[in-house]
């Protein structure tokens, strides 16, 4: 399952979508909105996605992971729109036969997602805003 959603992410739904009886482990990463950046209070984040390309790029990440590990199931949900500190921005659930691969595959997927998938976030502070990672 690959999902880009404006609705709050239901973690259990993502885990269920990754679950199969062949798995011995399900590793779940939950990314949440931090309340500060370099000591500055963050009031909210706005996420946007180039949705069709984001879905196809997430699929490519999954395909690359599948070449390295046996994935018996996987599911990724990424939120877009306005999020407040503490809210869930992304959930990655990966099922593998054994636990070691589940950690490695989950880390690979979230790290790759952050590098290649066309999703952007803007941080809002009490005195301004900035697109994250846009400038050196």
């Amino acid at each position: 399952m690959i999902e880009i959603t404006e609705q709050p992410i239901e973690v259990q739904k993502v885990i269920d979508a990754a679950s199969l009886k062949e798995a011995g482990a399900i590793n779940t990463f939950i990314g949440t909105v931090r309340n500060q950046t370099s000591g500055k209070k963050v009031t909210k984040l706005e996420y946007e996605a180039y949705e069709p390309m984001a879905v196809s790029e997430i699929q490519k990440v999954i395909d690359r992971a599948s070449q390295q590990w046996i994935l018996t199931g996987w599911a990724i949900s990424h939120r877009v729109g306005t999020l407040l500190p503490g809210e869930i921005a992304v959930v990655v659930a990966v099922a593998t036969p054994h636990r070691k691969e589940s950690f490695a595959a989950c880390q690979f997927i979230i790290d790759s997602l952050k590098q290649t998938v066309p999703i952007w976030k803007k941080e809002f502070f009490e005195d301004g805003d900035q697109w994250v990672s846009a400038h050196p």
Binding site: Y50, M53, V117, W120, K121, A134, H135, P136
Partner: protein
């Protein structure tokens, strides 16, 4: 060639719209980069700028047509 360019993130702020028309010189993605850079020099200050053609990251050598779906991909920051 006149292209319609989809913008996202900070590139939308710089170009000033969700879809912007640009009359470019040349035919390749590299030529488009030059046209964009001349008209919108602030793009050069970004950490990176990729160009997607038909929802795929494109190399500078790729030749464009005015029917392609073209999008600017400034530094991504999902997760």
């Amino acid at each position: 060639m006149i292209l319609k360019i989809k913008t996202f993130g900070i590139s939308r702020d710089i170009l000033g719209g969700r879809v912007v028309e640009l009359d470019m010189n040349g035919t390749s993605v590299g030529d488009l980069r030059k046209s964009l850079s001349l008209r919108y020099p602030q793009l050069d200050k970004l950490n990176s700028l990729f160009i997607a053609v038909n929802q795929e990251y494109a190399e500078d050598e790729k030749v464009l047509s005015d029917k392609d779906e073209i999008a600017l991909i400034p530094p991504v920051s999902g997760g």
